[in-house]
Symmetry: C2
Subunit: 382 residues, 2 copies
């Protein structure tokens, strides 16, 4: 064989090898998923392959990038404390998706907490091989499937179910790289909102302002403890500061979340129905349709029974602890930035148009605040 | 450039391309799991990588072979109907692993069933993007994590939680290739076992045989309906037939499950603590420590209040429907195979040894049946 033929052979072999390698690559890139063939005792009959149904795939695939190390964002707080505003503003960010309250995530966290509380039950589970870590894997899989599956994908997925904040320490065990935003609001405004809007929350007696303040106090205390136990990964966000100084607060929040700045977070109202999905049965949808504004800050003043106003500090000691003067009706929350003052003006000037938008996003138009024609005609609801 | 140089270049390029392709293959075969870098808007700072915790991996990995198409085995029935015996005998098979009752799987199925029952709630969930399919993925992930994680791996994983049979149709939606074994037993024996062993089951009044028969009747009716709705993938197994004719029944069952025959399923007592894991708080552990035997067939006779015996057919119409003569105390279930007659003899002859083994596998030795020294001294418990 002369040199020329040898070279031709060599080229031929190289091309052959290349083709073979390319084929090998494509063949091995299909995921094998049939356990029948990994048995300890040889092959099984695979049954009737034609009849094997293939249900829609799990939302969370191993190569998706979503797993327990993912840096999920959890937003929580007592309901009516600005949690929806917070998630709507973050939803406006191109890289973040929160979406609606899932409703089911707090319930499964609650189930787990019942099991843990009962020593007898926890032991029975251990005996069954259902250890804490098996439960953690099961619950985190459930949570991830819901978070990932109930909306569009995004680089940073976020979940807002207010009461998840009661389980922040446990969530940190499930998702060590997750970050938490605890929404804090003047309890008097929160309770006024619950009562005036008739928002049913287990344990809250809507006929009793004092009782609701007590419940708010207990709830926010637990949430603050959880947030502080989580430590550096939990940020407290004051609703009043968010609406008075949206840019400074959002810069602080995006920095905390490791998300690059984007102006859109200050104009979420432009993205309703686009980047921001609203549920027509959620109680704040009609409010977040509007730009961030000052209207809900102090509407609570004058709505509290006299005796409760008088006893406020002892009824709700968390107010003082959180920095709210329990005897100031209202406290001076601060002076608004020009941005939000302008947006508020726009909401008032174009009250009818904003009202129409609000009505479109709810199933029950009756509950939407009528436009404020005269600022003194404000109904006292926030 | 002359031909020789061109050929050299071509070879060189081929080698380069091959090397490049090989490198490409190895680089892309590492699973990318950092969503930060798949953002729509360029890279994010990945934060402090040194501090990223890596919790123990999920039990169910995509390349594990376990997913919604897996042919899981579900064993169910009214408690005290032989469900533990069934799972213990299957556990004896080298390719099958059931393990203990997980306790949590029925609870999550129950949660889902509450959501589905309430039209209002189901609609709220849809509005939130938490569709039926999102829920299905979340719940099946939870279930798989528990089934896979609470025991050893095996080619065929199996779960025994009695009340899952009430959700067999839904489970079929989650796992279309799963198979179901419904344990059926003479309700009079089941209720006698519940009452004499004081087994607490929600809704059963242990002081009222009649009420318990009614509850048994309602429960078994639902389960039979579910099993029949599932269709070909659900097999009804009569406890009495299983203990009288273990080999014929186990051959029928392994055939149904697509699992090769193995004699070990007839001698599960030899594998306690090895292939078979028992929970010391489960109510049948002390019984399945023994070989399959006839002792529990008719102990119920004479334990039922006269008036209930008289009204039995109307109290529990499912007896007749399932083939049990409601007026025969007891019915003639059949003649035992020699295998089980021998094992029963062994249990009686070596009562003390078997009692000692039974005591070792429970947390409360008081509840273990004392050895039968004289067959007439049988306490009437099964």
């Amino acid at each position: 064989m002369n040199l020329r033929m040898m070279r031709k052979n060599r080229e031929f072999l190289l091309v052959l090898f290349l083709v073979a390698f390319i084929l090998f690559y494509f063949i091995t890139s299909r995921t094998s998923d049939d356990p029948y063939y990994s048995s300890r005792r040889g092959k099984f009959r695979s049954g009737d392959d034609d009849e094997i149904d293939r249900p829609r795939q799990l939302a969370v695939q191993a190569d998706d990038g979503y797993n327990r190390t993912s840096p999920f964002i959890f937003i929580g707080g007592v309901p009516r404390s600005g949690t929806t505003l917070m998630r709507a503003m973050l939803d406006a960010h191109p890289d973040v998706r929160c979406g609606e309250e899932t409703r089911v995530i707090p319930r499964i966290l609650n189930l787990r907490s019942q099991w843990k509380k009962s020593e007898k039950e926890w032991n029975r589970l251990q005996q069954a091989g259902v250890t804490g870590e098996v439960i953690n894997n099961a619950i985190s899989s459930f949570i991830m499937e819901v978070i990932v599956g109930h909306g569009d994908r995004a680089p940073r997925l976020c979940n807002k179910d207010p009461f998840t904040m009661k389980s922040a320490v446990y969530l940190k065990e499930l998702f060590p790289n997750a970050k938490y935003l605890l929404m804090i609001r003047d309890g008097r405004a929160t309770v006024n909102s619950i009562i005036s809007r008739k928002v049913t929350i287990t344990g809250f007696d809507l006929n009793d302002f004092r009782q609701c303040m007590t419940k708010w106090n207990a709830a926010i205390q637990i949430m603050v403890d959880q947030c502080e136990s989580v430590g550096a990964n939990c940020l407290k966000v004051y609703y009043e500061q968010l609406v008075l100084h949206p840019e400074a607060q959002m810069r602080r929040i995006t920095e905390f979340l490791d998300v690059p700045w984007d102006d859109r977070v200050l104009h979420h109202e432009q993205l309703i129905g686009k980047d921001i999905s609203l549920s027509n049965v959620e109680r704040s949808s009609d409010q977040v349709v509007k730009p961030v504004n000052l209207d809900a800050l102090s509407k609570w003043v004058g709505t509290i029974p006299e005796d409760v106003v008088r006893d406020m500090d002892s009824v709700a000691p968390m107010l003082r602890r959180l920095g709210y003067d329990p005897n100031a009706n209202p406290p001076n929350y601060g002076k608004p930035d020009e941005l939000v003052a302008k947006k508020t003006e726009d909401v008032h000037k174009n009250g009818v148009e904003w009202y129409k938008k609000a009505v479109q996003v709810v199933n029950d138009p009756e509950r939407v605040d009528k436009p404020i024609v005269d600022s003194e005609a404000a109904a006292g609801r926030d």
